[in-house]
């Protein structure tokens, strides 16, 4: 790591001011992504503002029947929260499928939303990578791209978004609350992450120095019947090759509400909105689920080594939907 100064935030406004005031300053959460990337010299900063002392560590009910999750809530705390476990089970499952118990004890909700790709060409610090060094090219496109994305890709970047948590959040219509240099705003998570397009270095809509303060989940009674399924190269402590967060509300034998969100296969947490719509009004079962899986993968653009992900994610969707349909 290159040398940097460290300071503890004394209030959200002060932290925002400190970071927005210097291009080489940034927020420090659990450090599991940032310190890793600074050791690799993929990121270099002069000042880290530790935001973990800020009182953004509560999980509380909202007036509308939803839940407000502070940005500093640790991933392990959120996963084991009784309300989340009961009302949004796919979120607990997604969190518990990520990283390791130690890392989940460190990782914050804000940091997880902002975590960066595990693309080896991004991480190695020297390959052409438009995300790390704009206009340098993309070594992954014609390199060993087995772990890369098949959805939301561009000419300039095919890096997979690594987060499990975000896949569940996007299925539940989460809203990201921020405090920035220009004030506060609420950003629907579907708008929060950006597909790479021709600016893969821009990964979210956040401005420099804009602090995530909370994530809100709206009331969603149907979310009790949700599930996160993750397929990976080993049984634990590994990123997804393909994953799905799904939910179903079935009334009188017919699907009234459906959610299908995908991880491990796309450049951002992926909501398959058309596929969801195709389920509404159908009887839950193999034919409808297979058609939905097909629709969710419309427009895939596999490269040399990641074509298997197309079939894999379809099966993940079907199996996850079958699991939810069988829930009492």
């Amino acid at each position: 790591m290159t040398p940097f100064d460290y300071t503890r935030a004394e209030g959200s406004a002060a932290a925002v001011k400190q970071v927005s005031g210097s291009a080489k300053a940034t927020f420090l959460g659990g450090g599991t992504c940032l310190i890793d990337l600074m050791k690799l010299h993929v990121e270099n900063h002069d000042l880290l503002v530790d935001i973990t002392p800020l009182p953004l560590d509560r999980i509380e009910a909202t007036a509308g029947g939803g839940v407000r999750i502070g940005a500093n809530v640790r991933n392990s705390e959120l996963a084991h929260d009784a309300t989340i476990y009961k009302n949004y089970p796919a979120l607990s499952e997604a969190l518990l499928s990520g990283a390791s118990p130690q890392l989940r004890n460190m990782a914050t909700v804000g940091g997880n939303l902002m975590q960066r790709t595990r693309c080896p060409y991004f991480r190695n610090g020297f390959s052409p990578c438009n995300k790390r060094e704009p206009k340098s090219g993309c070594a992954a496109k014609d390199g060993y791209n087995r772990s890369h994305a098949v959805l939301g890709v561009s000419e300039h970047c095919i890096a997979t978004h690594p987060s499990d948590m975000c896949v569940a959040l996007i299925a539940f219509d989460a809203v990201v609350k921020t405090h920035g240099p220009k004030g506060e705003r609420a950003i629907p998570i579907t708008d929060f992450h950006l597909v790479p397009g021709d600016t893969p270095d821009r990964e979210t809509v956040l401005e420099h120095g804009e602090l995530i303060t909370a994530v809100e989940l709206p009331a969603a009674p149907w979310a009790m019947r949700s599930h996160y399924l993750k397929v990976r190269d080993r049984a634990s402590y590994e990123f997804a090759l393909a994953s799905a967060a799904v939910a179903l509300e079935v009334v009188d034998g017919v699907i009234k509400t459906a959610r299908v969100a995908l991880g491990g296969v796309a450049t951002k947490p992926w909501r398959a909105a058309d596929a969801e719509k195709s389920l509404v009004g159908q009887k839950p079962g193999a034919p409808a689920f297979a058609a939905t899986a097909e629709m969710a993968t419309k427009g895939v653009a596999p490269r040399q080594f990641n074509g298997f992900k197309v079939a894999l994610v379809r099966r993940v969707i079907v199996r996850a939907l079958e699991t939810v349909a069988a829930m009492k």
Binding site: F4, M38, L40, S100, Q102, L103, N105, M106, N124, F126
Partner: protein, 209 residues
Amino acid sequence: MSPDQDIDSAADRREFMEGVAVGGIGVAFAAALPITATADEPVPPARGPGQPVPVKLNVNGTDHDLKLEPRVTLLDALREGLHLTGSKKGCDHGQCGACTVLVDGRRVNSCLTLAVATVGRKVQTVEGLADGDVLHPLQLAFIKHDAFQCGYCTPGQLCSAAGLLKEGRAKSDDEIREEMSGNICRCGAYPNILVAVREVRQGALKEKP
């Protein structure tokens, strides 16, 4: 070239080599570190970011006054600054668990934790598990069940298992396996680690001898 620059460029080369082994779990070489062991040395005049700062670490119940650059990780501060070499550096990137310690009773990877960020908190390492000469039940169970071969991952396994017991969630063998999955063992001692952790969890060794 100043000695400081020397240290930096050596660190740069090391990190570059690690970067080449992307995705894998490489063994890092012990690095020369920007650590000063005592707090009463004169502070050099400011020359850019990253000047050493006083850091009071509470480790295994004892306060230590160090002067560290903010970029020094808890793992390096423990090993190089306090010579508590029980905690191991396997990958230095959160990928192996060899550096696991408890901070305020919660297991974390000390390689991704900044030492300055733990000021005011209680750090427990493998050296602090035993009660004097009386080994912790987990240590006894690891010996009894031969739960290690080379022993490199063992301090991390022990601290992680201590965290697991505190959390109190893992009950079945599958749950213990999953909850211990943040600790890689290159020797593959997993079956015996499982037996040792299971035995302590079940309270067989609850009474200290």
